[in-house]
């Protein structure tokens, strides 16, 4: 297949991903979750270059797919119909290992007028849901997984990829006006997964950097009353470090980038049980910034 299948290149902004696979379902799924990206197969530089190859059709417990990167298989195989989640998860992991020219936060990022709101959070705190909901409320979508910070300029680079919604968030976001979701992958270990598709304008703006303006550490709690508390810069730096993929590995560079980010932004901690209340609160706070 090496001569036959060309690499499909996805330019998502801060990175270029190249993949090839003979699995037709994967390409159909990619068409659905990257509808606004031009289809390219050019042979330039890619930050991640992977092959997704099907396993033996004779496997009794169902056919699998493996992700191959530089001649190795860094992850366990997935069921073959879940090639897209494997590609999304696996390529994000590889990016987190390779983009250490930047400070990488585990965060959603949205922007208004190129002023960015960064939402760093641990898995399970509702970061993806809130990021998608803000985007549907009119904010530009920059990223769901990585806040890619250039330590030289302090700017945040977009990485516009589909956002994996899990379980109940699928319906919460799917019911909103204009929400576009990709295929449903039922019964993964994290439960059901479906990808939210960022809109065309956000995709086209994937090379337009934004200036960080506010940082909000969200935490969803079913039934919780809205509680928003400002954080001072020192506390914000510590929490940025905790929510970073490479803060420690970057050493002094990472520390300075986190301090600069905290100095240039205002930070809050946000606990919420109602998504629309949270959005209204964020809109008000963001508009009130000098």
């Amino acid at each position: 297949m090496n001569e036959v299948t060309p690499y499909r290149v996805l330019d998502v902004g801060a990175a270029k991903l190249a993949l090839r696979s003979p699995i037709a379902r994967l390409h159909a799924d990619l068409d659905r979750v990257y509808p606004h990206l031009p289809e390219t197969t050019h042979g330039g530089f890619a930050d991640v270059r992977v092959s997704l190859l099907p396993g033996s059709p004779l496997r009794l417990r169902g056919r699998q797919v493996s992700l191959w990167s530089e001649g190795e298989r860094p992850f366990e195989p997935y069921p073959i119909h879940s090639a897209l989640p494997l590609f999304e998860w696996g390529s994000n992991y590889l990016l987190s290992q390779r983009l250490n020219a930047y400070l990488l936060l585990h965060a959603g990022v949205v922007a208004r007028d190129d002023l960015a709101l960064i939402l760093p959070a641990a898995p399970g705190s509702g970061k993806t849901t809130l990021t998608c909901a803000l985007h549907l409320a009119g904010w530009r979508f920059l990223s769901d997984e990585f806040a890619v910070i250039d330590p030289d300029t302090g700017e945040v680079l977009p990485m516009v990829r589909p956002a994996p919604l899990k379980n109940r968030s699928i319906a919460v976001i799917g019911e909103r006006d204009a929400a576009v979701l990709g295929p449903l992958y039922p019964g993964t270990r994290k439960g059901d997964v479906a990808h939210f598709v960022p809109d065309r304008d956000s995709t086209l703006a994937r090379h337009r950097r934004a200036r960080p303006r506010a940082v909000m550490f969200p935490h969803f709690e079913a039934g919780a009353r809205l509680h928003c508390e400002p954080l001072d810069s020192a506390a914000a730096v510590m929490r940025l470090g905790l929510n970073s993929f490479n803060y420690r590995a970057l050493g002094a560079v990472g520390f300075r980038a986190a301090v600069e980010l905290a100095r240039r932004t205002k930070a809050w901690e946000l606990r919420y049980g109602d998504l629309d209340e949270a959005i209204a609160c964020i809109e008000t706070l963001f508009a009130s910034l000098p």
Binding site: E70, G71, E72, Y78, A101, T188, R189, V253
Partner: protein, 367 residues
Amino acid sequence: MSPRASAETALLLRALHAPVELDEPGWDGLLRRARACGLHARLAAAQAATPGLPDVVRRHFLSATRIAAYRRKLMEAELFQLAALCDTGFPVVVLKGAAYALQRRRMATGRFVSDVDLLVPAAHLRTMEQALLAAGWRSEALSPYDERYYRDWSHETPPLRFPGHSLELDLHHAITPVTGSLAFDPAPLFARCEPLAGTPFHALAAEDQVLHACVHCFHDGDLALRVREVVDIDGLLRELAVRAGFWDNLLARAAELGLQRPLWYGLHFARAWLDCPVPAAVLATLPAPAAPVRRIMDALVARAMLPGDLDGPPSPGVRLARTAMLVRYHRLRMPAHLLLPHLVRKTLLRLRASIAAKKEAPDASAP
């Protein structure tokens, strides 16, 4: 005849010493090939000053350089913590990467460190191990069988780790497996080890460092992608060759310790792949393998060690070569009356584990 590297791999090996000029697709391929065998930070160090690097390549080099520097910091932190325990009545020798770093060798730049290896005299192994355990290092819980494998048949203790640290600590009492055909009394290593200024540690004498790198390179598992260890040997030789009498001392020491064959392999492959300036007379002095063995090893070692197709699984030829090297490794490590029961036991345990694992449902989202 010499062991062949593909044109792409030959380019990578050349790029570890001299600037190369490439377009973006060319850099893409070269970086992938370097990543495949853990040489990307070394490539970055070698090409840092190359004019006209595309921005994206510069970024990847910066990324690799930062990770290598971070791992080195972790290693230094580990050594700093170990130093308190190493002011002992016996020499504590740091091996390989940690030694290269403490000796400030050029070849340590961009070299990824994955663990810390210490060598102590066998008589003090228990003392050292107890001191480490008392200071907080822990070893994984092992079955009594594995415990015995390490104690009686290996040249190191089970790997230790300080809780929360990412580097592993291996405590050795020899540099060759005690049951293998290369086994020798390590006393001469300690007799000539050198103190590392400003630390309580020692390093092997220069010649012994080369010999250890050769033994380690050609006698460890299936040799998959171990070309980086040949790069280590090449780096050591280039740095040490300027010393007066180095080659003669190296040959004499190899003869004394019975390590001529591993040295031959090290010199042979360093010269073939990295153009290492090994004098022809030096190689000719060493007893070479017989021509047919040499041809087979050239083919197998190249397939096992050098990166192959990057776009998918290793080819059947590569897998076969690695299996052959694994068989060779076991044969050299243990005599048949120990090896066969050991392999039968390990195979049964692996089968049992894989049957148990299959009961779990496949999963599409976990790491």
